[in-house]
């Protein structure tokens, strides 16, 4: 198993690209990927056991971020949030608690709202990431962003990109018939769930706003939900 693990993983898209000792040596992260792949190819022939202490703790991954293909080599410990912000310069998702409690880092991952702080970047190979700054590919504001502006649904704005990604996810989930804890049990499975204020509050409970703009956040989401009545989309 040791020595072969990197190759197996590469075959399935992980693309483990470099090996690193645990003795503190850190490779230059800006090094050309081609060089690293060459080195890996060289090391793959090393006998099993000899590479035990030299297994890959970095990996190359390719993601689609706000519509563009991006490739980056990351330490396996890197969260998706840090990969986006620190490595790819995509700063719309915010780091609030970094423990999955505040929702400021929410992005849409393959279309579903996800906490990027609790996602390891290396595990997201090939996935589609949409942040608040990529919601509308024409360069205009997304209707949810317009509604947040219209309703003054923010004060400092730090939680806002996460709130907006989460709200867009809420609309999709309700349209697809996903229930919440407050959904009337008589709504048939698979039918779109009407977004009452109680539904919006319950479904948005994973996004905290320390400025307390909740009243206007609910109003903004209510507005967009009313403009686009939920229709099952899948």
């Amino acid at each position: 198993m040791p020595g072969s693990a990197g190759r197996d993983a590469s075959a399935y898209g992980v693309g483990v690209a470099f090996a690193r000792c645990d003795d503190g040596y850190t490779p230059d992260v800006h090094e050309a990927a081609e060089t690293r792949e060459t080195r890996e190819a060289g090391e793959a022939g090393v006998a099993s056991g000899a590479t035990e202490a030299m297994e890959a703790t970095e990996a190359k991954l390719t993601l689609t971020v706000d519509g563009s293909a991006r490739t980056v080599t990351v330490d396996t410990r890197t969260s998706l949030l840090d990969a986006l912000r620190e490595r790819l310069g995509v700063t719309s998702p915010k780091k609030g608690c970094d423990h999955g409690q505040c929702g400021a880092c929410t992005v849409l991952l393959d279309g579903r709202r996800t906490l990027s702080c609790l996602s390891l970047a290396v595990a997201q190979q090939g996935r589609d990431v949409v942040t608040a700054s990529g919601l509308d590919d024409s360069g205009d504001l997304h209707p949810m962003q317009e509604a947040f502006v219209e309703h003054d649904a923010l004060q400092c704005g730090y939680c806002t990109p996460g709130q907006i990604c989460s709200a867009v996810g809420v609309l999709e989930e309700a349209a697809a018939g996903h229930p919440s804890l407050v959904t009337d049990p008589d709504v048939p499975a698979g039918s779109a769930v009407p977004l009452t204020d109680d539904e919006i509050r319950e479904r948005m409970s994973g996004n905290l706003c320390r400025c307390g703009a909740y009243v206007d956040i609910v109003a903004a989401i209510r507005d967009v939900a009313a403009q686009r009545p939920p229709v099952p989309s899948r």
Binding site: P179, S180, A189
Partner: protein
């Protein structure tokens, strides 16, 4: 954070082989608890084996009318599944009572079962904790224990299991299917999690390297009348102080079938067998429900800060059962 290698398993047997070969390897599912633990230093594996993309992501109907739930099914998808909503509403409600929309989109069935206690001492590596560091002591026994156990605890550990889903699965007598180095076995939900005793580091009866591949539910017509009630410090996105999963079938005013499990009170989902015995075949009355709850809670040994959980659990059991009777159009 300790460096680790990352591998994506090809299939369940490959995953088991990869983890079984390395004592410091861990499975990665949705990551919602493990990634936090990596950051906190609570967990420090040298090798992560990703099982989140294995083909274990389907909910399938069994020939007998039961369900087989793949280990990698996301909590939000399971809660929304038509058969779960119709045949096992307690499971859908329990899932929706847990975490947030984002986390339910990430968290898997198996990962939910294997999440670890949110006891503050367990999560704070600067304090002793017998679960995290065996033999170091348990500050919670004399310390901050408001959210911790009232049933089945030991002098070594008073942690509670945090899952809502597991409480519903305990009430439904689910089976957990696991694959290990020596093959597959089935573990009844009641036996998956354990009480802390003098070995609180072990949350479950899983052997090293064993991988949960599915959860199975046998058909249970009575479960169409089932409910989950969760009592917590805020209305949403908080762990349970006390929760109740209940199945109740009443015929001509008499309890024909009843299953009750409690969350937030013990190191494992607590099946309230004493209360069930006190109710089965008896008249379904509010007084009877309350007496049954008290029979169960007679074994409670509250800590310095959590005596409130005893009447809270009694009231939650009574209210859940009364709600089920009312939903059936009967009186209690």
């Amino acid at each position: 954070m300790r460096p680790f290698t990352y591998e994506r398993a090809l299939d369940p047997a490959d995953a088991v082989a990869r983890v079984a070969a390395h004592p410091d390897a861990a499975y990665l599912g949705g990551g919602t608890n493990l990634v936090d633990h990596l950051r906190l230093g609570v967990a420090a594996p040298g090798r992560l084996v990703d099982v989140s993309r294995l083909a274990l992501d389907r909910v399938e109907s069994r020939d007998d009318g039961g369900l087989r739930i793949g280990a990698a099914v996301r909590n939000s998808d399971l809660a929304a599944h038509p058969s779960v909503r119709h045949d096992f509403p307690v499971l859908s409600q329990a899932l929706l009572a847990g975490a947030s929309g984002q986390i339910r989109n990430m968290a898997t069935t198996a990962g939910n079962l294997l999440q670890r206690t949110r006891c503050r001492y367990f999560q704070d590596v600067t304090t002793p904790c017998n679960k995290r560091e065996p033999g170091s002591g348990c500050p919670a026994v004399e310390g901050r224990n408001r959210t911790l156990a009232i049933l089945g605890a030991s002098e070594h550990c008073v942690a509670t299991h945090p899952s809502d889903m597991a409480v519903a699965l305990a009430a439904l007598d689910a089976d957990v299917v696991v694959l290990g180095p020596s093959g597959e076995r089935r573990i009844p939900m009641a036996d998956l999690h354990r009480l802390p005793g003098d070995e609180p580091a072990r949350d479950t009866t899983l052997d090293p390297g064993e991988l949960i591949t599915a959860v199975e539910l046998a058909p249970l017509p009575a479960a169409r009348r089932s409910a989950y009630r969760k009592v917590r410090d805020r209305a949403s996105y908080a762990f349970a102080l006390v929760s109740v999963a209940a199945v109740l079938e009443v015929e001509d005013g008499v309890v024909r079938e009843v299953r009750i499990a409690l969350g937030g009170v013990a190191h494992k989902p607590w099946r309230a067998t004493r209360a069930e015995e006190a109710l089965r075949g008896r008249e379904a009355t509010a007084e009877g429900f309350r007496a049954a709850a008290e029979a169960e809670l007679g074994a409670a040994r509250p800590l310095s800060e959590n005596a409130f959980k005893v009447p809270m659990a009694r009231n939650a059991i009574t209210a859940t059962l009364r709600g089920l009777v009312r939903a059936a159009g009967e009186r209690a």
